[in-house]
């Protein structure tokens, strides 16, 4: 996958999580995503490849934009 199609710096609504379960805003870079998840073909594969709750939600969020 090439995450650069979403821009250099992508809005990341799951950048952090508070103790009461609320999500915090931030950004994520396309370069970081390409470095760690660029080898996968689909967003579903990216979801399978991470343990991060926020990243899983983020990839699901990107699926709605495809």
């Amino acid at each position: 996958m090439d995450f650069s199609v979403y821009g250099d710096l992508i809005h990341y609504p799951f950048a952090g999580k508070t103790a009461d379960g609320g999500w915090l805003d931030g950004t994520i870079s396309a370069d970081w995503l390409n470095d760690h998840f660029g080898q996968y073909e689909t967003l579903d594969e990216c979801i399978q490849a991470t343990d991060s709750e926020g990243l899983k939600l983020f990839f699901e969020h990107l699926k709605t934009q495809q």
Binding site: A19, L24, I28, D51, G54
Partner: protein
């Protein structure tokens, strides 16, 4: 005849101090020392893998000369996990920062401080590892 009106007040230590209002009504007060203001504080936050968690959104803050950021983990984190606090500057409404200043980087706990290069900036905490990371506390101070 007096050229102004004296005003009796107290300094921060409670000692009596006089100031003077001029004929034109101006009151001059000389401030000294470092004045800091806490701009952000959060406890028990998990910073998601890969994220730049926004601590302060972009805004024009003319009043501060320096920004200090600290973050403290619950446990020691593996050395391969990379964390850093950044001040990101930008010009007008351009979404991508045109420069970044690293405030503190790759330490288990502690704080850093930078002299600001501009007045339109945001402050973020980056987790450049692939693991979500619980953080005990994060704070940002502005120094006038």
């Amino acid at each position: 005849m007096a050229k102004g009106v004296p005003i009796l007040g107290k300094d921060p230590l409670g000692k009596a101090k006089y100031a003077n209002v001029t004929e034109s009504g101006d009151l001059g007060v000389q401030l000294s020392g470092r004045i800091a203001e806490r701009l952000y504080f959060a406890e028990d936050v998990t910073v998601t893998a890969g994220s730049a968690l926004q601590l302060l959104p972009y805004s024009e803050r003319l009043e501060f000369r320096k920004i200090a950021v600290g973050f403290y983990f619950y446990h020691s984190v593996p050395s391969e996990q990379k964390y850093r606090a950044l001040v990101q500057h930008r010009v007008a409404s351009v979404p991508t920062p045109n420069s970044e200043q690293i405030v503190v980087e790759n330490i288990q706990r502690g704080a850093g401080i930078v002299e600001l290069e501009g007045y339109i900036y945001s402050v973020v905490l980056q987790n450049r590892s692939t693991q979500d990371q619980p953080v005990r506390a994060i704070y940002v101070w502005g120094v006038r």
